[in-house]
């Protein structure tokens, strides 16, 4: 039987199909091949200020649901939001999204290790159901981001309606997505997650509008520093 070292084979971002046109610099982050640069730093910084779209599908993610999921996470020292449809930051480097009363999405930010640790625990526990995650994940930044959302989402995502720790599951561009507002490097951004198989479609839509509004694609490198 032929032998394979699967660790040496880096899967590619689910969005990559839509990003292959033009000059893109790729790198492997968290074991996934991802677009880290679309243009010069100056151009990308300018885009970020107006409307930047960044693929962060490579962030480690862990999903779990079930009646014992809260306890399961608490036992592993994961801070969880007290209420559904809310999120919190665990150890400053891990987002914990409570999607329902008993469903969670956990995402390590760059440098976070919680998901890897949780994934390493393969024991099956009664009342705890692991949810494999294969999300396309985005950071949307800049002054025009609400203008973009106004075309893609029927909900009010302004600060007065979407409070700082709210998570909403809604439709963005006609598909199911999870949205929250987050601060990264002192900058307020929106985060969007959708099923990875919709990733190229979502990227195309986001980018089309972003470019119209004066923004564009921003590589992950702009957030790595």
């Amino acid at each position: 039987m032929q032998q394979f070292d699967i660790k040496k084979i880096a899967p590619i971002s689910p969005i990559a199909h839509a990003q292959s046109n033009g000059t893109v610099k790729w790198d492997v982050v968290n074991g996934m091949k991802i677009a880290v640069e679309f243009a010069s730093a100056d151009i990308e910084q300018a885009r970020k200020k107006v409307l930047g779209v960044t693929d962060v599908s490579c962030f480690e993610r862990y999903g779990v649901k079930g009646p014992q999921a809260s306890q399961y996470l608490a036992d592993r020292e994961i801070a969880i939001p007290a209420n559904p449809n809310a999120w919190t930051l665990c150890d400053q480097k891990t987002l914990v999204l409570r999607l329902g009363s008993s469903e969670f999405l956990i995402e390590d930010q760059l440098g976070g290790l919680a998901c890897k640790k949780l994934a390493g625990d393969t024991m099956r526990v009664a009342g705890v159901y692991k949810v494999p995650r294969a999300d396309a994940a985005f950071i949307l930044s800049g002054s025009e981001v609400l203008n973009l959302f106004s075309e893609l989402c029927s909900l009010d995502l302004r600060e007065k309606s979407l409070s700082a720790k709210d998570v909403i599951m809604t439709q963005v561009a006609g598909i199911s997505a999870t949205v929250l507002r987050q601060t990264i490097g002192g900058e307020q951004v929106y985060r969007v997650w959708c099923d990875g198989t919709y990733g190229p479609y979502m990227w195309d839509v986001l980018l089309e509008i972003a470019v119209e509004l004066g923004g564009g694609a921003v590589g992950l490198a702009r957030y790595q520093n």
Binding site: F4, P11, S20, P132, A134, S150
Partner: protein
């Protein structure tokens, strides 16, 4: 610009910016801010358009988008509403719906034969003799419609956006502006929308010869501008009302769907034309149109005018005409005994003769019918509504301004479900019961005096504040007293007709009478028979008069006639706006790039883009499919099945759930085993099928069809909500990909990548294993859908390309090649497997497809069981059977959906049919009557060209099983 008046305060044109354009080949000057109509009228151009049906010359009627007398095209866009669209420098415009130009329209002869063309004539003519119908159809199609559709119209993106506010105010007249200001002061976030290019409503033009209104308007606008929490949208109309206060507002740039917490409708009222002979001549216009020309655009409506009125508003119009320099020859008032009023006396002092209790019997046309040369007036019996023509009098004039009353702009209120009642004090329908969170104010609420309208705006804002839980004072509004602003019946009968009610459709009073005589005497029936209100104006200037006429005909009070409700969008909206950006969401598997690189032709299945087949250079679709299928039969093929629905059922009640959800039994299913699942709806119709694999006592893994996966998962969630079993559902469709490797060499190829024992004994058909394939953790399912030697490999989506590549490499020496979803359909047909959605439809029950074996009726419950119990007692009406065509069949190949016939009787239809190169036979599935069910039975299929093809019922599979599979 022969009718341009000196500059005056508050006008909308910028006299410092002159522009030029052409209309019908003639050059015209204009100022920036002019509409197309105002610029043409200022230049003395009277005939601006032709009517839809009789091609009568038309000019300005409302100058407010409440009629479509003037529709023009610039060669790219059509049906441009010239009354409200701003003229641009260099525009080249022509009127629509003419043959040979607006002045000498060759089709104007239709007007002279109009007695032959009453409403509804086309319902009664042309259908016989039948052979002439195509000819007439062609003629009618050419005559129908106004502008010509430009099929090369450029794709200009019109964004569709969402916005949110505390309060949406519809209408930026004095009422709406006041309401917005009061609400904003209380802290609400207010959006105010108005169809006009500038805010102010009637304050901007209804001055009655004095300028206090302008001062009031400026004060109001300053107040509104001082509130940062007010967002004003002008040149934007609120197009409809949808539940929970969702109101799309439409502007030139697109549609914004406004979700408001509360709504104030201050949309005002449409002025209604009195009806008399030739009331449609260019030069006969509504009083408010004359005022708009004067104060917004600095244009004198005419030089010598007559005002015909039936309310006090007409007197204000007369003062405004005098202010513009028009000589007002006379004011004709339908009402008797009004000479004593202050306004009348003032007018008389200024030399205007008042004819109270008189009507305009007819307008007189100039010799070329392009303008007014006079008005014939006579006494009017206000009680019987008849003209007393004994002492007719002709007044020379070049224009007539009409003011007879109003109709509420209440479309949004109707759509929101507002109860309306007829208020005789104002002769108008007014809201009597408003839905929660909706408020009406101003003219639409039956309040006409300016000071009361402003108070009504405050009252509505305060009610909106209280609705939102805020404190606000109570306000009382004085009801209208005195003479009604609308006349109860401003119609002047005339023996010769041409007294128009609906200018869009050239509908006259006699048309209503005829409709009623034919039995169409209900407002809904009359609307459809006469087409009143069905033109582009959607009844804005005609519906109220139509209701009054019908009430008169039926001798009923107006409120007994009722009103019609315009459906949203109540104002015609371009298709491009409705289309917006156009989102076509789709899913791609992680192998999409591989398929693309290797020449796949893609097809849409559900939300997915799937590789349908991979044609080699010069290969047709059919050749590619047969070649791919042949490889699967002789060696092995590989297909990307990542789009299959994949759902995990975790928990101790998983088997119980499956038994309730599907037709089969699962409690006895062993770990490592797979069972067929079939989902029915409550009526016993087959919805979907698939495979349930038991991975552990408390874990089932379900794989189902691509198209229905989302719906099935949704239904599972819904069922779990009801049943509350101890389990969790996890949809892993996007997280896991799948590959099916099938064919006699499949086992040998796969064996090189896994140490799992793949022998039949260890891993037989309908079993599941978890192992590594090419170093990746994979769920392997032994399936026999396209071949009796096949393995489905389910693995994390991102790792599927690695497994695929490893398989392709390992299968190289066996000639392994990919096959697409179109080939899969042929392969499963050869295997005799039917597919839900292809071989079933929305009425098919499992007995009709021979799936009785998959149903365990002895269970206490499953979805659709009750219906099956009933269906089982009935005799079958159809049966799906496998069939073949004759060996070496050479005739026209039947196609999917061709009918199975017996003479003229339809017995069923073909659901799947294909030639199989491997079997060298045409094979398929068809529904037939149960008596044709037996093997060897023959039936006939009628092809598209009408030929009959004989088919013979056979057994499945169509091919022999492989040894050792």
């Amino acid at each position: 610009m022969i009718l341009r008046t000196p500059k005056r305060a508050g006008e909308w044109v910028d006299r410092n910016k002159k522009i030029n354009f052409t209309f019908e080949g003639e050059a015209f000057p204009a100022y920036e801010g002019d509409t197309i109509s105002s610029a043409l009228w200022a230049a003395g151009q009277k005939v601006l358009g032709r009517s839809f049906k009789y091609h009568r010359p038309r000019g300005v009627l409302s100058l407010a988008n409440h009629d479509v007398n003037v529709l023009v095209t610039d060669g790219i866009d059509t049906n441009i509403r010239a009354d409200v669209v701003e003229v641009k420098d260099g525009m080249v415009l022509t009127a629509v719906n003419t043959s040979g130009g607006v002045k000498k329209d060759k089709n104007s002869y239709i007007d002279s034969i109009s007695p032959l063309l009453p409403v509804g004539f086309y319902y009664k003519a042309f259908h016989t003799p039948r052979r002439f119908f195509p000819f007439w159809e062609n003629v009618i199609r050419k005559a129908a419609g106004l502008g010509v559709v430009n099929f090369n119209y450029p794709r200009i993106l019109k964004r569709k956006q969402h916005s949110h506010c505390d309060l949406l105010v519809v209408g930026a007249g004095p009422t709406g502006l006041t309401a917005a200001y009061v609400a904003a002061q209380a802290g609400l976030e207010v959006t105010i929308v108005d169809e006009n290019s500038q805010a102010g409503g009637s304050l901007s033009y209804n001055r009655g010869g004095v300028h206090s209104n302008l001062t009031e308007l400026n004060d109001l606008l300053s107040k509104v501008a001082s509130q940062p929490n007010i967002t004003m949208h002008t040149s934007t109309y609120a197009a409809g009302y949808y539940p929970d206060h969702l109101i799309p507002i439409v502007s030139a740039s697109g549609i914004t769907k406004v979700r408001a917490k509360t709504v104030i409708v201050a949309s005002g009222a449409f002025e209604q034309p009195p009806v008399f002979r030739y009331n449609d001549l260019p030069g006969v216009m509504l009083g408010s149109a004359a005022q708009r020309l004067i104060y917004r655009y600095g244009v004198k409506p005419f030089n010598n005018g007559v005002v015909v009125t039936a309310n006090d508003y007409g007197y204000r119009v007369a003062f405004d005409l005098l202010e513009a320099g028009t000589k007002v020859v006379a004011l004709v008032d339908l009402r008797a005994g009004v000479n004593g009023g202050i306004c009348a006396k003032d007018l008389m002092r200024r030399g205007v003769k008042i004819y109270a209790g008189h009507c305009v019997y007819e307008a007189l046309a100039s010799s070329d019918k392009s303008s007014v040369r006079g008005a014939v007036i006579c006494a009017y019996d206000d009680k019987e509504n008849v003209a007393l023509t004994d002492n007719k009098l002709t007044l020379e004039c070049d224009g007539i301004a009409m003011s007879a009353g109003w109709a509420p702009a209440g479309a949004l209120l109707y759509q929101a479900g507002t109860g309306m009642q007829f208020d005789y004090e104002v002769q108008q329908f007014v809201p009597s019961r408003l839905p929660d969170g909706i408020f009406a104010a101003g003219k639409v609420n039956g309040i006409f005096e300016l000071d009361q309208r402003i108070k009504d705006g405050t009252r509505a804002a305060n009610e909106a504040l209280r609705y939102l839980g805020l404190q606000a004072p109570q306000n009382n509004i004085e009801k209208h007293v005195g003479i009604s602003p609308s006349h109860p019946y401003p119609m002047v009968p005339h023996d010769k007709g041409k007294n128009f009610v609906d200018f869009d459709e050239d509908i006259q009073i006699k048309d209503f009478v005829n409709a009623a005589k034919e039995g169409f005497d209900n407002i809904e029936l009359m609307k459809r028979f006469t087409t009143v209100g069905m033109g582009p104006s959607q009844g804005k200037h005609s519906n109220m008069n139509a209701i009054r006429i019908l009430a008169k005909i039926r001798e009923l009070p107006v409120e007994k006639i009722g009103t019609t409700t315009s459906r949203p969008f109540f104002h015609p909206t371009p298709i491009g706006h409705l289309g917006g950006r156009g989102f076509h969401s789709h899913r791609l598997t992680s192998l999409h790039d591989w398929h693309q690189t290797n020449g796949a032709v893609f097809t849409d299945i559900g939300a997915w883009k799937r590789a349908a087949y991979y044609p080699a250079t010069g290969q047709t679709k059919e050749e590619a499919i047969q070649a791919e299928a042949m490889v699967v039969r002789k060696s092995a093929g590989i297909i990307d099945g990542s789009s299959f629905g994949k759902i995990e059922i975790h928990g101790p009640d998983g088997a119980e759930f499956l038994e309730r959800f599907f037709t089969g039994t699962y409690k006895t299913q062993k770990v490592g085993g797979c069972r067929y699942v079939m989902l029915l709806d409550e009526s016993g119709v087959v919805v979907d099928d698939g495979i349930a694999s038991r991975l552990a006592d408390d874990l089932f893994y379900l794989s189902i069809g691509t198209s229905n996966a989302a719906a099935v998962y949704r239904e599972m969630q819904r069922s779990q909500q009801m049943w509350q079993l101890n389990l969790g559902l996890v949809n892993v469709t996007g997280a896991l990909g799948a590959i099916n490797i099938a064919g006699p060499s499949a086992r040998e190829i796969l064996a090189t990548l896994t140490d799992l024992d793949l022998s039949y004994e260890s891993f037989p058909i309908s079993s599941v294993r978890e192992s590594q394939v090419a170093g990746v953790e994979v769920r392997l399912i032994r399936v026999a859908f396209v071949s009796d030697m096949g393995y489905e490999l389910h693995a994390p989506m991102v790792q599927v390309p690695h497994i695929w590549n490893a398989l392709m490499e390992a299968g190289q020496k066996h000639g392994l090649r990919p096959f697409g979803s179109d080939t899969q359909r042929l392969l499963r047909l050869e295997m005799g497997n039917h597919m839900p959605g292809v071989d079933t439809d929305g009425l098919t029950n499992p007995f009709e497809i021979g799936a009785d074996w998959a149903i365990e009726m002895s269970k206490s419950y499953f979805i659709g069981q009750r219906s099956l119990t009933i269906l089982a007692k009935r005799s079958l009406r159809k049966r799906l059977v496998p069939f073949v065509l004759a060996q070496n069949f050479k005739g026209e190949m039947p196609m999917d959906c061709n009918l199975v016939v017996d003479g003229r009787d339809i017995l069923g239809r073909v659901t799947s049919i294909s030639y199989s190169k491997f079997i060298d036979r045409c094979i398929g599935f068809a529904y037939v009557t149960p008596d044709k069910n037996e093997v060897g039975s023959e039936f006939q299929i009628r092809t598209d060209n009408g030929s009959l093809v004989t088919a013979t019922v056979v057994k499945t599979p169509f091919l022999k099983n492989q040894k050792g599979a």
